[in-house]
Symmetry: C2
Subunit: 327 residues, 2 copies
């Protein structure tokens, strides 16, 4: 029998998890006290929070604890990058049943750690409580190093729309997982699309690079490209047109479209890849890692179009609706 959280207890779990979490140079006081203390050399701190709920954001039969840790961290670190900042720290809340194997919680911590380390962030604090279902709360903090934050509201007509990272991969991977559900995943499990769904790879460096390169607006594509560009359009009072030819869809997406889906729907409406979308003055060259995918127009009428046309799918992830990506 595997040891469970109920057997190890709250303080035992905290001790075991904390021992696995190295503390980076920003950490002045790590886990173990009433609160942690983090350096904020910029005199400002960027902060964002997200909740992940089992059955809605992840399934334990599809993802390991490690993968869920990576993905939970990635979603939040990408929010920090989307402001133009570098992530410095995560705080984690874990609500879980007493029957959960300790191993799963340690794997989760390892995944959080391994997603944080390459970007220089540390898990500096957390909380564990008993609950019926697993819920993971992640708060990410970051530092702008003197840069101005890139919000959703600075896009101007004439700006170039650009993308860093992948779109559609996670949605295609989810479709493959759903197709294979119930049976042995077999070689499908090795698909880079499924890997992309289980463990997204946000282009963290592209956020600060965009801020330094004069980006006028930026967003983390978490709910779907068209839907998230709608937030920039609304925030900036502009219209945005996506050039689908410029999306340069991976051949993998076309191959996976055997499940009867237009791969452009994955790219335009699929979430969870945590690409970054930003707008730049047309006079500026795009920073490394960014590619042009459209342009910014004067506002009025439909705010986001694809090749000049309204996009037919309502698209994107909606909480509290039946349109959850994980059944």
């Amino acid at each position: 029998m595997e040891e469970t959280l109920g057997e190890l207890g709250e303080f035992g779990l905290i001790e075991a998890v904390t021992a696995r979490l190295p503390q980076g140079p920003h950490v002045l006081l790590g886990p173990g006290d009433d609160a942690a203390l983090l350096a904020a050399p910029d005199r400002r701190v960027v902060a964002s929070t997200d909740l992940l709920v089992e059955g809605r954001h992840f399934r334990r039969d599809w993802s390991t604890g490690y993968e869920i840790g990576r993905k939970a961290a990635a979603a939040n670190l990408a929010d920090i990058a989307a402001m133009g900042a570098r992530p410095t720290a995560l705080l984690i809340g874990l609500a879980a049943p007493a029957t959960l194997p300790v191993r799963w919680a340690l794997d989760l911590a390892d995944g959080l750690r391994d997603e944080c380390e390459p970007v220089g962030a540390s898990v500096i604090g957390g909380d564990v409580v008993g609950a019926e279902a697993i819920t993971i709360a992640v708060t990410a903090l970051g530092d702008l190093a003197g840069r101005e934050p890139v919000t959703r509201s600075g896009a101007r007509p004439g700006d170039v729309l650009a993308l860093a990272g992948r779109v559609g991969w996670s949605a295609a991977g989810l479709a493959l997982l759903t197709l294979a559900s119930g049976g042995d995943l077999g070689e499908v499990a090795e698909s880079p699309l499924i890997r992309a769904h289980l463990q997204p790879e946000p282009p963290y460096d592209a956020g600060p690079a965009a801020a330094a390169g004069g980006a006028t607006a930026m967003i983390d594509v978490s709910d779907g490209l068209v839907q998230d560009l709608g937030h920039i359009a609304a925030g900036s009072g502009v219209a945005i047109d996506v050039d689908p030819a410029a999306l340069e869809l991976s051949p993998l997406l076309a191959a996976a479209a055997r499940c009867g889906v237009d791969p452009y729907d994955w790219a335009l409406a699929g979430g969870e890849d945590h690409a970054l979308a930003a707008t730049f003055p047309s006079t500026a060259g795009l920073p490394y890692g960014w590619r042009r995918i459209g342009g910014v127009l004067a506002g009025g009428g439909v705010t986001v179009t694809v090749a000049g046309q309204p996009y037919r799918r309502a698209g994107g992830w909606a909480h509290f609706s039946g349109d959850a990506p994980v059944p």
Copy 2:
């Protein structure tokens, strides 16, 4: 029929909540973007996170959404104060069923806001997701204004043990609520002890005052005085003795003891009042709001004693055990 979260939708709820949340002077960029931006004038930021789960930390038939908001904020703001810092911001994650009335979520936001405002903190960000049960994730941030953080590890033999705020009130209020459960609470509902359980009043100012006044160690009493002093004793390698006569129990506690409980057990083992306990050099006067309740001794043997004796109750709140304060 009351409008529900499912009818209003994620973005409608965020808009309605955000409109109720004033942004204080520390907020450089409030809710509505990928992340918020908060001033950290000290070049350091204090950070802590907590999860509250329905049925374990609160009951909707005992507490209003407003009271739960106040209490959720209080628990986290007290953690910041216990480091010697002033709270500057909260980030909130709310997982809730689609059937939850919008009114309840707005009341929660009002409670969070009203607990934050007097201490100068703002709710700067959040997330809402669908889930079977209500879970509230709270992250608090704070500023030390140049003071050194007061940890759990600096207590020295000979130090004075001091307390700010109330102990035992919340546990007594919970006992009254449990006694009255099922029936109409009637006049019991007006008891200050029940009010203390539903809406604790942490002595926020006492934290920074203790730091400025030379406190050697400090902790937020969230799980029970003896249990939480155990963390200072362990962190500092000392023993701590509580003088029960110095606790100056309120006559209210004695009156409530008609349910057959020794009121000292509430004071020594009851959590959730979010008093602050700290140690001070014996040569220092105690800052305003603090009173002596014992002393620090050389380590070895039982780490926390009451009038020189081991305290008989194992005491305090334990997650993942059957000893949950809310059935």
